[in-house]
């Protein structure tokens, strides 16, 4: 999981790597289903904690990988070589991942803060 995410879903992402990453992380998720812990102790069982953490990590990894592959723009730490610019027209929205059915959905960004002035999205230049 670590290797796949590091290689296929780092800050700088590439379309072919993203596609391959989705396949590889789903394979890893399959393998994670068969995690076995040899330590059966009931006292401070760190192996059990690590296995539970693996469950959570792999689920987040799959969600991250699939969402990244779907987002055809660059935004923040998601920098795609094939879509270098931010695309507020199509992609100013939050990605939602649902484990049931492995599906993606989107929800709009809340543009009006409650107590402070709203800041218009601008092109990021330094």
């Amino acid at each position: 999981m670590r290797r796949v995410m590091q290689a296929h879903c780092g800050v700088f992402r590439f379309p072919d790597m993203l596609i391959e990453g989705v396949k590889k992380i789903k394979d890893a998720a399959q393998r994670a289903q068969h995690t076995e812990i040899r330590d059966k102790s009931k006292v401070f069982n760190t192996a059990r904690v690590e296995a539970l953490e693996l469950d959570n990590l792999i689920e987040v990894a799959v969600a991250t990988m699939v969402s990244a592959e779907a987002r055809t723009e660059s935004r923040g730490a998601h920098d795609r070589a094939d879509h270098h610019q931010r695309d507020d027209g199509n992609w100013l929205k939050h990605t939602l991942w649902y484990k049931e059915g492995s599906r993606l959905d989107y929800k709009p960004v809340h543009m009006q803060p409650l107590t402070v002035q709203s800041v218009e999205p601008k092109v990021r230049t330094y």
Partner: protein
């Protein structure tokens, strides 16, 4: 590389034992924690605490070849084989390298390790000059790893009565803070043959502190304060 590690599972073992491991390290394994994680992939029943892997959380404090330290910042190349790993001395062992830190934290809480200032809060911060802030250097950086207190013979003999180097370092951190107003109460709190005065400047604490702090010096300063006000 060869390791000899203290093992104890209260469910299974009547007595603790030392277990030997000999494992092939990768060139990327630089620190003791890397080796321990590799051992865990071979024998996942080895239990240890670890978190930040960069020497700032203090979770993986243990006794390494007889000296307390943090596994994540102890270089394997500095260690003599077979590397003997034991839990921190003096504290009750829960399992393998995991100890019960309750006594340690009880002493820490007993010195009231928070700012006491009943003046109304100012608009922004309670101001402090750079010189006043410098007084806190070498005190605030403590990560509460317990390497010092578990290396202190006075703490071994009286963990319930002697506050210990870590607790006393934090006691001084607040005594020295210009923004704190409870100086007198803090010193009253240590006015006892055991709380502060079991320190005999053994200095094991200074020797093992992974952050390079000096509890003995801080304790000396507390003793100065106590003498000054008694006079």
């Amino acid at each position: 590389m060869r390791f000899s590690i203290y093992r104890f599972d209260p469910d299974k073992d009547a007595q603790p034992r030392m277990q030997d491991y000999d494992l092939a390290l990768q060139p990327t394994d630089r620190m003791l924690l890397d080796a321990l994680i590799r051992i865990k992939s071979v024998d996942d029943s080895l239990s240890l605490r670890r978190s930040c892997r960069e020497g700032v959380c203090g979770s993986d404090a243990m006794n390494i070849n007889g000296k307390n330290g943090l596994a994540c910042i102890t270089r394997l190349s500095d260690l003599k084989e077979p590397v003997e790993l034991r839990p921190l001395p003096g504290l009750p062992v829960i399992r393998d390298l995991i100890v019960d830190m309750t006594q340690f934290f009880k002493q820490y809480h007993s010195v009231k390790p928070y700012l006491v200032n009943n003046q109304p809060s100012p608009e922004k911060e309670r101001l402090q000059s750079p010189a006043e802030r410098e007084e806190l250097d070498g005190l605030y950086e403590c990560i509460l790893c317990a390497c010092c207190s578990t290396a202190c013979p006075s703490f071994w003999w009286n963990p319930d009565k002697f506050v210990g180097p870590a607790g006393l370092l934090q006691a001084y951190r607040f005594l020295a803070d210009s923004r704190d107003e409870a100086t007198s109460e803090r010193l009253d709190n240590l006015e006892d043959p055991y709380r502060l005065f079991r320190c005999h400047s053994i200095m094991n604490c200074v020797d093992v502190c992974p952050k390079g702090l000096n509890p003995t010096r801080a304790i000396g300063k507390i003793k100065d304060l106590m003498v000054k006000r008694a006079v």
